[in-house]
């Protein structure tokens, strides 16, 4: 960029005082253009509020992404029942924002991976196959034997391991890879939601899963894109349709790397927030803050119909993709 390396002044300017008025003429044009520019060109600005629908720079509708939003159904309490899942680690190029491809590490081809759900006292059997190019594991949050913790049994590429333990305690949990370097294995995409239903079933609701995540696509240790369940602005371009007549229950987890906290803010309504998806700590609010690895359950009874925004209340995250809409209908 051209800059002045050579600005020189001398203070004896007697013959040049006459230059003043001339200079004024020279700058009149510049001053004019500088002052007429004001605050009145908002018409052309596509701000936060206008970012809805087809104009939003996000990806086309994707069945794989849509599948992540709805958890498998809850099953009644029956101790000892075996619940089987298979997770395959795969290196996949994901479109994490419109037109931006990221070489992700995934469980079953998406980041986040599939929702794992069990009822308390089910026997969870998760077969893990490492089809990726690096050693991986699955580390589940919850109560289980040390040998099932995804810390010691590193699964080499081409190898497999079956995690088997009783599902407990009930609540909202998560899973992620625990191979080192940990930060790399998590931010590359190896994480997902893990729901354990209580023995006494929760009341019926429209159930959604939202895993807050982010992608550092240029490897500088700072996230370039934020979202829930994958691509930036996905639910701004494709709003989530819900009914006002039934409670909306959101299983929310924070798996954002690099940033210490993330948050969820709902427009136009309040929700009950169950910390870690349990009953011990409940609050009524419209904004919750989650540290890395923190999670909980939100229950919303929408009072009104229409489009209601939800987003991280860190404006930066919201404007880098972590923003969406509920389309509430009767």
């Amino acid at each position: 960029m051209t800059k002045f390396s050579r600005k020189r002044l001398l203070v004896t300017a007697a013959p040049l005082v006459a230059a003043g008025p001339l200079a004024r003429v020279a700058f009149a044009d510049a001053e004019h253009s500088a002052t007429h520019e004001g605050h009145d060109h908002a018409h052309a600005a596509l701000g936060h509020a206008a970012m809805i629908g087809a104009d939003v720079p996000s990806i086309e509708r994707s069945a794989a992404i849509d599948a992540l939003l709805t958890p498998p159904p809850a099953l009644p309490h029956r101790p000892g029942r075996v619940r089987e899942y298979e997770l395959v680690a795969r290196d996949v190029d994901l479109e994490v924002a419109q037109g931006v491809t990221y070489p992700a590490w995934t469980y079953n081809g998406t980041a986040p991976g599939p929702v794992i759900r069990a009822t308390e006292d089910d026997l969870l059997r998760v077969r893990f196959v490492n089809g990726g190019g690096h050693p991986h594991t699955i580390h589940f949050h919850g109560i289980h034997p040390a040998t099932m913790d995804g810390v010691f049994e590193i699964v080499q590429p081409g190898g497999s391991f079956t995690y088997e333990f009783p599902a407990r305690p009930w609540g909202m949990h998560l899973y992620h890879c625990h191979a080192t370097p940990l930060k790399k294995h998590i931010h590359k995409g190896l994480y997902g939601a893990f729901i354990i239903d209580p023995p006494k079933p929760r009341k019926p609701a429209q159930e959604l899963v939202m895993v807050m995540n982010a992608f550092d696509t240029d490897g500088d240790g700072e996230n370039n894109f934020y979202a829930v369940n994958g691509p930036a602005f996905y639910y701004a371009r494709h709003p989530i349709r819900v009914s006002r007549s039934q409670t909306v229950r959101i299983y929310l987890a924070n798996l954002t790397e690099f940033d210490l906290i993330n948050s969820f803010h709902l427009h136009g309504d309040f929700f009950r927030y169950y910390h870690t998806g349990r009953d011990e700590l409940v609050e009524y609010t419209d904004t919750v803050v989650l540290a890395q690895g923190e999670r909980g359950i939100l229950e919303i009874d929408f009072a009104n119909t229409g489009h209601f925004m939800f987003h991280a209340h860190q404006s930066e995250f919201a404007e880098l993709g972590w923003m969406g809409f509920f389309e509430v209908v009767d």
Binding site: K3, L46, V100
Partner: protein, 385 residues
Amino acid sequence: MTTLAERSGAGWRLWALVPLLLLVGVVALFAATGGSVLDLLGRTPPPADEFDVRRVEFKPGEIRVRVTNPQQEDLTIAQVTVDDAIVPYHLDGNQTLSRLRSATIVIPFAWVEDEPIAVGVTSSTGIQTTHEIAAAVETPEPSGRGVLGFGLIGLLVGVVPVALGLLWLPSLRRARPEWLAAFMAMTAGLLAFLAVEALSEAFQLQAGLPSALGGAGVVLLGFALSYLTLTFLSHRLAALALLVAIGIGLHNFGEGLAIGTSFAFGELALGTFLIVGFMIHNITEGLGIATAATEERKVSLARLAALALIAGAPAILGAWLGGYVRNDVIGVIFFAAAAGAAFEVVVEVGRWLRERAPGGLTSGWTLGGFLAGITIMYVTGLLAA
């Protein structure tokens, strides 16, 4: 037995073609199988995938970003951010740019006058190039008023002070030969200072250019071009005053370019104070030309006016070009050319001093004058730093 030396002249000319033909053959062979040769060395690293942001323009409710692909591999524009927020945009040009191709990203945006702003362009591979602007200022459109404004700035910092400096000619004519030599040496010192500054400016600008546009050698190209052209002219024109005027004119072109660019892109708050500073500085350039003009027995008013225009008017052209075009490649070439011209004139003045000055190049008058020229430039530079 015949040796190569005994072949006919025509044969020799044909022989000269042989290396070229063989080169074509080897290149073709490598291109056909080149991939496998490089495979022996292992995988090549991925491309940097960074854009070269050529210019950012601010219009009412709109930001226009001109980007170029500086690398061999194709580069695709995927996402655009303003101050770390993803924004919708449309493109004037292709989404995917091949080598050295450009496109303009048009962003509807209510930018805030005079505040810093950062524009980011993210490639399809997720690499973000961020370009920061110190203060958002509406980019001037070429208009009658604007052209007049930049023209007047050029006139004020270029032609006017040089013309005023030339008015010292009658006084210089009556000066003792020692003093004249000192002033001439001062002119050389002044030009040497300008040359070093212009050269540094050229290298700095060049360092910011994408590597696809060549290395620092382009500075030497611009330098040599003007130095050798002036050398060629100096042995035919003979008039030292004209040479000094040309050297200073090239320098003032660069100065006008820098003023116009900085002003148009919000990098410089041009005020009356700064303009007056430039005028005071440039009056010494007029003094330099006047000193050289004492060589000529009789100088007509028309000739003086011509010298003032040659030395000063390029500032007007530079201001226009810088204000409306902004091209850093042109900037590099002209700063390098200004340095080359200034150095050439230093050499010419040195020759004059060796032949005409009482005591030649090593007299106290000459050495003191040269040092004084550099010192004046340095001190005035400090005042405005």
